[in-house]
């Protein structure tokens, strides 16, 4: 007799569990060594509190009611709960704060096999250190934690989530035209993007820049290749490159000027983590300078969340290639 479990969820048996546990423990160790204290928050939160963090993502969550009729929701990441904790439990404490977590989160899925509803994330949040200094610390720690987990070939993609919108603004594209362009970029529909950019009636050079920006990815040279108005816009990434170089991890980073993350709360630098052995991202993150302020304490912050099971798959795939 077999009894079903919901698609996107899974049972983990001892052999796999031992390996997952080992990856988790090693990453936790790397975070702890870097001064990131582990934090635990409830799986269930008040939906209206989570909504303060990100109204658009809240709709995708699993919801239930408590005895009082209040709506409870399963968290879909750890960033929003940690923002809540910082604003409410560290109200008067002196930043910076460094937190890590190894926790489950839940997301709705409309897809078939392979897209999990429940996933185990290992990650960090660095709160109170603005700009490139904070971002470089998080990127370097991401690389170190994956080293500790046993990966060898992982890379971090770094972009600026606000870059494209700033360029549109600089070129005088009316605000109502931004959304379809950003949506095409976020879907990675470069054909659609090209078409929509052509309709804007911009000068040839501006048009090319907007249509070809997602092709600019690679090492430091892509920051040099960004010409004209884009050159100014990538200045913050140039500073970040300097910080990464100082930490000795610049060669593990791919600058990607078309990178945008889907979650609504990112305000600047965004990250994605890759391993050449697998075709999916291992996780991501970025800078979210407005989020904690929505809970009442205005602090700059950035962080990263990595999917432990995907790291396990990447590790197995790396072994198979070796």
């Amino acid at each position: 007799m077999t009894y079903p479990i919901p698609p996107g969820t899974r049972d983990v048996l001892p052999e796999e569990m031992r390996e997952l546990r080992l990856i988790g423990e090693r990453m936790r160790g790397a975070f702890e060594d870097a001064g990131y204290g582990e934090i635990h928050t409830p799986a269930l939160e008040y939906e209206e509190v989570l909504r303060l963090g990100d109204a658009s993502a809240a709709g995708a969550r699993y919801r239930t009611f408590d005895e009082q009729g209040d709506v409870l929701a399963l968290r879909s990441d750890m960033t929003i709960p940690i923002a809540r904790v910082v604003a409410t439990r560290y109200e008067a404490a002196e930043p910076p704060f460094r937190f890590s977590y190894l926790s489950r989160a839940w997301r709705a899925t409309d897809r078939g096999v392979g897209e999990p509803r429940e996933f185990l994330q290992a990650g960090v949040e660095l709160i109170g250190i603005p700009g490139a200094e904070g971002e470089a610390e998080v990127v370097a720690l991401t690389i170190a934690a994956l080293d500790a987990a046993g990966l060898r070939r992982h890379r971090v993609g770094v972009g600026d989530g606000s870059l494209y919108a700033r360029l549109l603004h600089a070129f005088g594209v009316p605000a109502e035209a931004h959304l379809p362009l950003l949506e095409a970029l976020s879907r990675r529909d470069l054909v659609g993007l090209d078409m929509r950019v052509a309709e804007l009636g911009l000068a040839q050079q501006q048009r090319e820049l907007l249509a070809r920006l997602p092709e600019l990815r690679g090492g430091r040279e892509v920051l040099e290749r960004a010409a004209g108005p884009a050159a100014e816009a990538v200045e913050s990434l140039r500073v970040l490159h300097g910080e990464l170089e100082r930490r000795g991890v610049a060669d593990r980073v791919i600058f990607d000027l078309g990178l945008v993350r889907e979650l609504g709360y990112y305000t600047g630098a965004v990250f994605e983590v890759y391993d050449p052995a697998v075709g999916f991202t291992l996780g991501g993150g970025g800078r979210y300078d407005d989020l904690i302020g929505r809970f009442g304490r205005d602090l700059p912050a950035c962080g990263v969340g990595l999917d432990v099971q995907r790291i396990h798959l990447a590790q197995a795939a790396e072994e198979a290639l070796a």
Binding site: R155, E215, G218, I254, V278, F280, T281
Partner: protein, 211 residues
């Protein structure tokens, strides 16, 4: 992502097959073996895997192929796939249309009198989206074989299907009522390969764009 530094290319068998191989020839990819052998699926020397067109996004999303060639119709139907759509390749031009029996307006009639229309298609997601976006209630009936048969037998009021010349529609007494989208072949890429094999992918893109 495929393990070698070289690209693995997903090639659709079917209507786009010849156009795709011609394109790959121009890009300097060896296709003679693929042309001469229509049973074999994996051509490791050339870095080509051949498959049913609707499977191309699946292989590319997973990274078993780094890039692929696929019709926009397939991408519209599988819009949940996380792949980069890099280029419109221009060939394989078709139209995605709503069609119904000639004479009268069976779709309008059904909507007026019954409040909904029944539509047969091989593209259920795309069809449902089109009718939702145009503010009409539709019951979508998914069929696997000849869609043209469905309205002739009274199964449905209309169909959503891909047509190149319109000949098959006309021969079955159907006519185009609405055009949803013009579909051509597209070049797609795996998101991770797009970063980690950037030089190889850019070479393909530059090759297609020409000097």
């Amino acid at each position: 992502m495929s393990a070698t530094d070289r690209l693995t290319i997903a090639v659709p068998r079917g209507a786009l097959f010849d156009g795709t191989l011609d394109l790959l020839d121009r890009l300097g990819v060896e296709t003679a073996e693929v042309r001469s052998n229509d049973r074999k699926l994996l051509f490791e020397d050339a870095g080509i895997v051949t498959m049913r067109p609707s499977d191309v996004p699946t292989y590319v999303e997973h990274g078993s192929a780094d890039i692929g060639i696929v019709g926009k119709d397939v991408l519209l139907e599988q819009d949940q796939r996380k792949v980069y759509e890099l280029l419109d390749l221009g060939f394989g031009r078709c139209r995605m249309v709503v069609a119904a029996r000639e004479g009268g307006d069976p779709i309008g009639e059904a909507l007026r009198r019954l409040g909904r229309v029944r539509i047969a298609t091989k593209y259920p997601r795309l069809a449902a989206r089109h009718f939702t976006e145009t503010g009409r209630q539709a019951e979508i009936v998914e069929v696997k074989g000849s869609v043209e048969l469905a309205p002739l037998t009274g199964l449905v009021d209309g169909i959503v299907d891909l047509t190149a010349t319109g000949t098959t529609l006309a021969e079955n007494g159907l006519r185009v009522m609405e055009e949803i989208e013009v579909c051509t072949a597209r070049l797609i890429a795996n998101p991770v390969a797009h970063k980690l094999k950037a030089a190889q992918i850019d070479a393909i893109v530059a090759g297609v764009r020409g000097p």
